[in-house]
């Protein structure tokens, strides 16, 4: 990792883009180029803006430049026995933390520990007036002003360029094991919800259509007691969680469109063509299907949630779940308030902005 502050150069590039009314495509390593809608514009490359600015293990906080490789950050945290609680997927060797946060990606631990946005404490951004602004900070509790740093998480870079990000870190669990047991889809949903209602050290769940996998994390005696209570067969290792996280698991290696359905954790099984798997205690359903997008979206809505065309399919059409009219107005107003000339990733999230 070559630590360098590249924020001034980025600010100048944004200034030029504003002056020329020329949209930019904010890019790190390009590992998440598959995600979101296709967008036009000159590349604004943040990957040179690298390095860890501050890391205080005792404070459980790290501040990094957005172009820092996720792998580098994970290594630094691991040295101190810590990690990012939301266990983000990388989807590429050189994935940056900036891209991870802009996409708002969280991994297997999300239902148990929280999401990317839950662990963001502060952020510096360049807005569409080319101003470098700081929001939040490095402390756990901070209610001065609106929570703009969390607003950036999952905004797909449409509101500003992420420059520096402060996040809460957590200690790595002392031990981890994976349990597995055969069951049906509906049994998996019920079991996942039931276990989440009991104080057990469950840190991740997955149902592949055949087996329910449960990961336990914590102190050795707690894991032992949890294993006794939950039952099932102990897997040889914990590799499955990385495979699910990075979509290298067999389920994801298919050539049809991949949908990501975010549903209430107790939503029952729904009938759609294709294959499904379940994560996040029932709250996340992956669907590999060539079903019509409107069919998938209405099924998600009927179940009380929403659907994202995660990979494949038509990247020029609607990829994210449509907003209601009232929400669309607020989104457009917010977009204008951060980026009045509409230069950041136009159309990457929704066609209208």
């Amino acid at each position: 990792m070559k630590a360098q502050d590249f924020s001034e150069q980025l600010q100048q590039q944004v200034q030029q883009a504003i002056a020329g009314k020329q949209p930019v495509r904010i890019t790190g390593s390009g590992s998440k180029a598959f995600y979101g809608r296709e967008t036009e514009g000159d590349v604004l490359d943040i990957s040179a803006h690298q390095g860890i600015i501050n890391y205080e293990p005792k404070e459980l906080v790290v501040t990094v430049r957005s172009g820092t490789r996720l792998a580098d950050l994970n290594a630094v945290l691991a040295e101190q026995g810590q990690m990012l609680a939301f266990e983000p997927p990388a989807f590429g060797e050189d994935a940056t933390i900036g891209g991870t946060i802009a996409c708002g990606f969280s991994g297997p631990r999300r239902a148990a520990a929280g999401s990317a946005r839950d662990f963001v404490l502060g952020a510096s951004i360049i807005n569409g007036r080319a101003e470098l602004l700081h929001f939040g900070g490095e402390v756990m509790k901070n209610v001065a002003g609106y929570d703009v740093s969390r607003l950036m998480v999952g905004a797909m870079g449409t509101l500003g360029v992420l420059i520096d990000i402060s996040m809460k870190t957590i200690p790595r669990p002392f031990e981890e094991i994976t349990l597995q047991r055969e069951c049906t889809y509906q049994q998996a949903i019920e079991r996942m919800n039931e276990l989440a209602g009991i104080d057990l050290p469950v840190s991740a769940t997955f149902f592949d259509g055949l087996n329910l996998y449960i990961r336990l994390s914590g102190a050795a005696p707690a894991i032992k007691a949890g294993e006794k209570r939950i039952g099932g067969e102990r897997a040889d290792n914990n590799a499955i969680w990385q495979n699910i996280r990075e979509h290298s698991h067999a389920f994801f290696r298919q050539d049809k469109a991949l949908w990501r359905l975010s549903l209430p954790s107790d939503a029952a099984c729904f009938e759609l063509p294709g294959k499904q798997c379940i994560e996040w205690g029932g709250a996340l359903r992956w669907l590999v299907s060539d079903a019509d997008p409107s069919q998938v979206r209405s099924a998600a809505e009927r179940a009380g949630g929403s659907a994202i065309l995660f990979r494949g399919g038509d990247r020029q059409g609607e990829v994210f779940h449509p907003l209601t009219d009232g929400m669309k107005t607020i989104h457009q107003n917010l977009k204008r308030s951060f980026d009045p000339d509409g230069i950041f990733n136009p159309g990457r999230m929704y066609r209208e902005f």
Binding site: K58, K141, G145, Y146, L151, L323, G326, M327
Partner: protein, 474 residues
């Protein structure tokens, strides 16, 4: 403002007893939990349905009357301080728990439901609502969302923003919006993050869906006494460095210990310079391991005595002393002024030394109570408002504490909000372009600035004016 006309318009859909306009009847609404600031509203309304809130907002919007929302008014920053030319919108009638979903572990509640009432109702399912501000007996969930309230357990379980899944809000134009949902992710920007802590300036919360957690199988609290505040502060980092995240980690200094002990007889060691309450929760096995570890760590950090609560009763008693610390200090002094800065934990002892020096300069005693786990300080400045100039002195003292918090990399408010009280200190923490971005966010929701105007975000130019006046302005 044609008050009569406004009342007539509101009376078209609100019963007469829900519109309060006589001065004496308005008196209870003149302040929130920060009684140093008082203002009678033009009138107060108490709608009972979501449709009525929408109608109130539409009428006020049309007539350009600003609106301030009010829950239980336990806020400590004057966020619910009424406006003399505005309507105060009380949500006390929205006091129903709509549904508890045992399987999905959620509670759908109206905004006027008390924080503690949610946990009480969820108890029979083995569940509870985690954020527990010290005012949890009285404060309501709508106000918790507005302030992004914390509590003594947020190091492990997060703030309100981490525990609320969805809010239904009424916009300044009277539209009903659903933000968030029963799923973990919802489409679009994370507006839920914006709503939490927005101090009633972006919308009126009329319903909330909150996350419930399983009641830990076991919770155990340790109380450690120290003969030195600095040692107590440093022990906190030592525990966390070992990979242990306590459910609660609270510290009190000697003045606060004495006050609390006099008030609730919690069994605190009154001769200690500081005490640390450390709660560990989780599975029985996990807690057993951690109790041993933490006890050793505290002793190694120089604790003069470490006690484990004998039983649940004593655990509750240890916490009662902490939760009653504010009123306990209130008994020692005619008035007190509670501050809320947060600092990086590593700077804690430096800031405490700074506060005790300022206490001498301003000649006002200060009791310190804090959420040591997350660096959130609550210095309580003791003063007597009847002594001429003492309120001003307390305010100036407080302003200096907040400046010190910002200087060491912290914030002016950890959980009480900016409100009316700290609006000028925002100029210390944020640059003008940052404040301008906040104003732009506000306008994205509320272009006419009808909701709680004048709170939380300083008006344009007010920072430079404030500087030229020099010092605290209230």
């Amino acid at each position: 403002m044609d008050t009569k006309n406004l009342i007539n318009r509101l009376a078209e859909f609100l019963p007469a007893q829900s519109i309060i306009h006589e001065q004496e009847a308005l008196r209870p609404y003149e302040c929130d939990g920060l009684p140093a600031y008082r203002q009678l509203p033009l009138l107060a309304v108490l709608p009972g349905t979501i449709e009525q809130v929408q109608q109130v907002m539409r009428v006020c919007h049309e007539m350009r009357v600003p609106v301030v929302a009010r829950g239980a008014a336990t806020g400590l920053s004057g966020g619910a301080l009424p406006l003399g030319d505005g309507v105060l919108l009380g949500l006390s009638k929205f006091n129903r728990i709509i549904e508890i979903n045992k399987q999905a572990r959620t509670a759908r509640v109206q905004p006027g439901v008390r924080n503690l009432a949610i946990s009480e109702a969820a108890k029979k399912y083995g569940l509870y609502y985690a954020p527990d501000p010290s005012s949890q007996i009285a404060c309501t969930i709508g106000g918790n969302v507005a302030e992004n309230s914390g509590g003594v357990h947020c190091l492990k379980y997060g703030l309100t923003v981490h525990n609320v899944m969805e809010v239904k809000v009424i916009t300044p134009q009277g539209e009903l919006l659903t933000i968030g949902g029963a799923a973990l992710d919802t489409p679009g920007f994370d507006l839920l993050a914006l709503m939490n802590g927005s101090e009633g300036m972006l919308g009126i919360v009329v319903e909330a869906l909150v996350k419930l957690l399983p009641i830990p199988a076991r919770a155990q609290v340790l109380m450690a006494a120290f003969d030195d505040v600095e040692k107590a502060a440093d022990s906190v980092g030592t525990i966390i460095a070992e990979g242990i995240i306590p459910a609660g980690l609270e510290m009190m200094d000697s003045l606060a210990i004495q006050a609390a002990e006099d008030f609730v007889k919690a069994g605190y060691p009154v001769d200690a310079k500081a005490i640390l309450l450390c709660e560990l929760d989780g599975t029985n096995e996990e807690v057993s391991v951690q109790i041993r570890q933490v006890r050793e760590l505290l002793k190694a950090s120089g604790a003069t005595d470490v006690r484990t609560a004998r039983d649940e009763e004593e655990r509750q008693l240890f916490w009662k002393g902490r939760k009653a610390a504010f009123p306990a200090v209130g008994r020692m002094s005619p008035d007190y002024y509670c501050m809320d800065g947060t600092v990086p934990r590593s700077r804690l002892s430096e800031v405490l030394t700074g506060i005790s020096k300022l206490s001498e300069v301003y000649d006002l005693p200060v009791a310190n109570v804090f959420h040591a786990g997350d660096g959130n300080l609550h210095p309580l400045i003791l003063y007597n408002a009847n002594n001429p100039g003492e309120l001003k002195r307390a305010e100036d003292f407080g302003a200096e504490i907040l400046q010190l918090s910002v200087k060491v990399g912290g914030t002016i408010t950890g959980e009480h909000g900016v409100g009316y009280e700290k609006v000028h200190q925002m100029c210390v923490q944020f640059s003008e372009p940052e404040l301008e971005q906040f104003r732009a966010v506000k306008k994205a929701f509320d272009p006419q600035l009808m909701l709680n105007p004048g709170k939380a975000i300083p008006q344009p130019r007010s920072c430079s004016e404030h500087k030229t006046i020099g010092g605290h302005q209230h």
